[in-house]
Amino acid sequence: MTVGLEHYLILSAILFSIGLYGVLAKRNAVIILMCIELMLNAVNITLVAFSRYVVPALLTGQVFAIFVIVVAAAEVAVGLAIILAIYRGLEDIDVTKINLLKW
């Protein structure tokens, strides 16, 4: 049984959906950040799979994946810094209780 483009796309769709569920349903802010990383990884798999199967000689998808990794690294650094700042101020990282901006 040969593995094709669809296998990789379905796999990354499953990973993205798991991450989406985690982002929507979890209360711990660190877990939510981890689920966002999961979703970014799913998108990267899609980009690399398209690059491998549709334009194998151009590598454009891999270049995009590198930029996604850069943005993910920046995002996780700032996100964890925000979580630490919130923890220092509120002594809690439960996102259902962080509602200072709620009117």
């Binding site: 769709a13 991450g19 660190v30 999961l38 943005v71 964890l80 925000i82």
Partner: protein
């Protein structure tokens, strides 16, 4: 044949690890499960003949991002009472399943134009030409550098003791 076997092993372990991130009660175990998922994704890159990207995945995700996440878990240790779900657990589950079905339907019914040429074997030199060469992605590379710098400064400012 070996590629197919390795794909199935990597895919199954990857999905199980991702489910572990969401469903494990202990936050630290969820982080370890996420690291396993990152490693499996690096393996998937190798099956897609993206060797440089697999190395970057291991260096950046397994090496750096997982350390940051574990550090954040350690710093917020006193408040963690497992990883509870909020009130929207069932609607979130339904939304995720619906989203997965729509995605699967769309991408299984699309006639992708699969190229028959074999992929480039070592991608590092070709990627470097693509990123830094003539007509390449040099402007996004510079912007990425500025983004990383501002992210570092922003993280330091946010996390610093007042």
């Amino acid at each position: 044949m070996g590629l197919a076997i390795s794909f199935w092993i990597l895919a199954v372990v990857c999905i199980l690890a991702a489910l572990g991130v969401v469903f494990l009660r202990n936050v630290f175990r969820a982080a370890l499960s996420l690291i396993l998922c990152f490693l499996m994704v690096a393996g998937l890159y190798i099956t897609l003949s993206a060797d440089f990207l697999a190395a970057v995945q291991i260096l950046v995700y397994v090496g750096a991002i997982s350390v940051l996440i574990i550090l954040a878990i350690m710093m917020t240790r006193e408040v963690q009472r497992g990883s509870p779900s909020n009130r929207l657990q069932i609607p979130a589950f339904i939304i995720a399943i619906l989203f997965l079905e729509v995605l699967a339907l769309a991408l299984l019914n699309t006639p992708w134009q699969i190229a028959t040429t074999p992929p480039l074997a070592p991608t590092t030199a070709a990627l470097a030409t693509k990123l830094f060469g003539e007509g390449g992605f040099i402007l996004p590379v510079e912007i990425a550098a500025v983004l990383l710098l501002s992210a570092i400064i922003g993280a330091i400012v946010l996390a610093r003791e007042k």
